[in-house]
């Protein structure tokens, strides 16, 4: 970031401070971590067979490091994608007309769909090397992170206040400078919030993303996900316990070392001009900010960034008309054509690929299974709402409680459902329960928290005056909920429920089939269909299942959640 945050420049001259010491430790630790975690990435694939994943807890730190590095790589990729794709979509209305719906479609494709389709391509990039499999894994995590980040940044770009853009232009800032000094800072706070959500999503699919299956062979990458998978296969409860402990530590570290500092740092980019509540703080940021060495390093970095900016500036004309010149329109048209052609080609290929192998019967079946999964999602969202909305309102109105509940919910959102398989499968087998009912809660395990997050935020944003009016007129009990609390949190709730619904569909693939050792429990649904097809290596059925699921998600978003969102937004938004 070519910024000049003043916190950096407050470092005093003189002897190394205690901040220098902490900062040095942090940096060295980070370097060691990268070196350790990236070892073996370039080794041939066969080394994975030679030293398979074991349940020895001593290996867990290394596994955790590998997984963490993958997540980080995917996050960086997602950021690159966000800055290019979202910017293109926002800057060129013509391209945006295609890119935005395309993003919507991509968002509705289950994570597994991307893995199955791109696996051969990625493996061929580094033939016979572990690196190829790593590419697949990173890409899988990327697909669970990138879309909502891109959406959030696109929204921000579209809402940059006109006068700020005009000010930047009238001071003759180049398009490059405007992007880094105005648009990125403006979009930063919501982007970071979405990065945190993305990270939780990534963890949820950690088991899925580390097992790369091509045809009959499965490459298992060393990592926490593979460890969990193996623990389940071998019915090792101790190992499951170790995995849970590792997850807890890693997520905590991520929060303390990455997100907390980011949130505290991004607080300066909040656009509201009025002083808000207590600004977020981070000991890591304070240590880094207080360090003279880091300050010097950042100064160098800033100079470099400025040099790059200057180099780019000399090649971009300063005068940029807001009315797009004609060749821009032409470029847009070409881009539109290319995307359209690609889509048509993809559709044609899919039909050509599926038609000889699958008949109307299969299509009817997947549609039916989709309806069952859909019903399950709706019922679960309803159930989760009944539980979490009242709790969310209660918590949101009490900032003290919210401070304790938020991080717990954040951890729960990242908790992979696979870790609960032992409990659930044992329960279902022992008491001979109906898996169609008792596997369902797993689907919403990670996603229900979005409802809670949003309702808490909504309740916290409720104006004090409104609450005073309620107590002044002695509005209590059901009337209070019906007339005051529920309408106030409604827009927030719908946003949360929308996210939860999309996520639950995705989670169906890992939640409708559960196993504990050799005991397998399966529920009827589209998720189980895709999971079965994947383990059988039946490519046709995978594609059909994935396409059907994307269609369902897309349709439900368009027909249910989107209208509901606009309705809530119009009717209940307090502004």
């Amino acid at each position: 970031m070519p910024h000049t945050p003043t916190a950096w420049s407050t470092a005093s001259r003189g002897a190394p401070s205690r901040f220098d010491f902490i900062a040095l430790l942090l940096v060295l630790g980070l370097l060691a971590f990268f070196a350790e975690a990236s070892r073996g990435v370039l080794a041939p694939l066969t080394t994975l067979d030679a030293s398979p994943v074991t349940l020895d807890p001593h290996h867990l730190p290394m596994y955790a490091a590998r997984t963490t590095l993958r997540m980080l790589a995917a996050l960086v990729l997602s950021l690159l994608f966000t800055f290019t794709y979202a910017t293109w979509a926002a800057k060129s209305p013509r391209a945006g007309r295609i890119l935005v719906p395309l993003l919507d479609i991509l968002q509705s494709v289950p994570v597994l769909g991307f893995i199955s389709v791109t696996i051969v391509f990625f493996l061929s990039l580094a033939p016979g090397k572990v690196l190829g499999a790593e590419f697949v894994s990173v890409f899988a995590i990327f697909t669970s992170q990138a879309w909502n980040m891109a959406f959030s940044f696109y929204q921000s770009l579209r809402t940059v206040p006109v006068e700020l853009t005009e000010a930047a232009r009238s001071f003759r800032m180049s398009a490059w400078a405007r992007f880094w000094r105005l648009e990125v800072p403006f979009g930063m706070p919501p982007l970071i919030w979405n990065m945190m959500m993305s990270m939780s999503g990534g963890w949820f699919f950690v088991v899925l993303s580390e097992a790369v299956t091509v045809g009959k062979t499965t490459v298992t990458l060393p990592g926490v996900g593979s460890y969990i998978a193996l623990a389940i296969e071998q019915k090792n409860l101790h190992a499951v316990g170790w995995a849970i402990a590792t997850m807890l530590v890693v997520i905590l570290l991520y929060d303390q070392l990455l997100f907390r500092p980011l949130v505290a740092w991004a607080d300066r980019f909040r656009f509201e001009q009025d002083p808000g509540g207590v600004p977020p703080r981070s000991w890591v940021l304070e240590a880094l900010g207080g360090s003279r060495l880091i300050a010097r390093f950042l100064r160098q970095l800033r100079h470099a960034a400025r040099a790059v900016g200057a180099a780019i500036r000399t090649t971009t004309p300063v005068v940029i008309h807001i009315e797009a010149p004609d060749h821009g329109k032409q470029l847009d048209r070409i881009a539109t054509g290319i995307v359209g052609a690609l889509l048509a080609m993809a559709l044609w290929e899919a039909v050509k690929f599926l038609a000889p192998e699958l008949g109307w019967h299969d299509i009817g079946m997947t549609l039916g299974l989709g309806a069952i999964t859909g019903l399950r999602v709706f019922l679960l969202i309803g159930l989760a709402s009944v539980i979490w909305v009242p709790i969310g309102v209660y918590v949101g109105l009490r900032p003290g409680v919210a401070r304790i509940v938020q991080p717990i919910a954040q951890f729960m959102a990242a908790f992979p459902s696979n870790l609960l398989f032992p409990v659930v499968v044992a329960g279902i087998v022992t008491w001979k329960l109906n898996p169609n009912i008792w596997l369902s809660p797993l689907m919403i395990l990670g996603t229900q928290w979005y409802i809670l997050f949003n309702v808490i935020a909504g309740a916290a944003a409720m104006p004090g005056e409104m609450r005073h009016v309620a107590s002044n007129f002695k509005v209590t009990g059901w009337l209070w909920w019906k007339r005051i609390a529920l309408p106030a949190v409604m827009p927030f709730y719908v946003t949360g429920a929308l996210t939860a619904s999309g996520g639950s569909w995705n989670a169906a693939i890992v939640a409708e089939v559960a196993s504990w050792g050799d005991e397998h429990v399966t529920a009827t649904g589209l998720g189980a269909y895709i999971a079965d097809a994947t383990s059988a290596g039946d490519f046709h059925r995978i594609v059909l299942g994935v396409v059907t699921m994307s269609l369902y998600v897309l349709l439900i978003n368009r027909l249910v959640w989107r209208p509901l969102y606009y309705y809530a937004e119009r009717k209940f938004r307090l502004s």
Binding site: R268, P275, V319
Partner: protein, 441 residues
Amino acid sequence: MNANIKPSTETAPLLDVMHARKSFPRGDGAELLVLEDVSLSVKPGEIVGLLGRSGSGKSTLLRLIAGLSTPAGGEVRYLGRKVEGPAEGIAMVFQSFALFPWLTVYENVALGLEALKVPRDEIRRRSLQAIDLIGLDGFESAYPRELSGGMRQRVGFARALVVHPNILLMDEPFSALDVLTAETLRTDFLDLWSDGRMPIKGVILVTHNIEEAVQMCDRILVFGSNPGRIVSEIEVPITRPRNRLDPAFAALVERIYVEMTAKPGRGTAPNVHRPMGSGIDTILARVSSNLISGLIETVAAPPFSGKADLPEIASELQLEIDDLFPVAETLQMLRLADVEGGDLRLTPEAIQFADATVDERKRLFARHLLAYVPLAAHVRRVLDERKSHSAPKSRFLDELEDHMSPEAAEQSLRALVSWARYAEVFAYDDETGSFSLENPT
């Protein structure tokens, strides 16, 4: 560089706007003309005011001059060269301050110089100088959110001045501030200007505040609406510092009120762009029925007793022209008042309205609404003719958009809805977006 240098010394103009036109594409493919054939020039040592109501295109013109948008016809020349994009030497101060909230006062000010690739030492020197000049020393490391509105706008001024512009463009720079703060900032600015301590040679000030224009400008260009154009040009011969209580000051304010309330066709450019047709093409202003009754009551009561001077009402009611003129014009449209020559005279019906009970008032208002507002009569007729006695809002919106911008159409319908609700002539349900004859039970 000093305001006391009279423009009569015939120096070359800093800026020339020649026959500038600006239009925006409309939904149906046609063009909406917002600025028509505007010419003006700014000479060194001048503060030129662009005075007009919102929607008169004065801010659009300012953006043409700043190079932030290009004219559809005509051209803008700065120091004899055509303006194509933001020009070096023209800086702007914004109504909403437009500060970057994540940069400190110092960083905000330095930003303009960094974009110009000025050496670092010079950036520091000039930024601190500008901050000092505008009275912000001590606040260098503060973030905008820590400052009051007045202090924020000072940063806006410092940021514009630091690039040493020849021309300073000001887009209603004081209108987001409270009265007292605005006054302080204006006097401070004029002091600096009169002392020649600012590196600027000419100023263009966009405002909708008549007194502000008279206080600050050497020359005022009064703008008319639909489409935006210059209606008249007024010199301000009063020497600085100017006193609002000075009779010459008050007389000039009064004269501008007269200019701005002159009926089209008399002295001002005839409005050829408004086909008379069905009459539903009149853009209605969003004026609440409370404001309408309020103004009638005030003017009907002593000391006005039915006839009032607009500047007097404005100061009596603390209304700016952007608030007052729409009410006055709505009264005129409803034939409840006559506005001419800077005066507002109530009609006999309006006097009757002032003394009436709530129900009588509503009946009288309903009569005038249906008789004199063609859109109201039109909606009512459509509802009467339909069997269901209801019609969707989109039906009328489409119809209106043939004559005006979508925003204006929306605004007109909103205004109509509020009047119709008060007069109880038809109902509107926002949830379903439909007009009907049934009142909710």
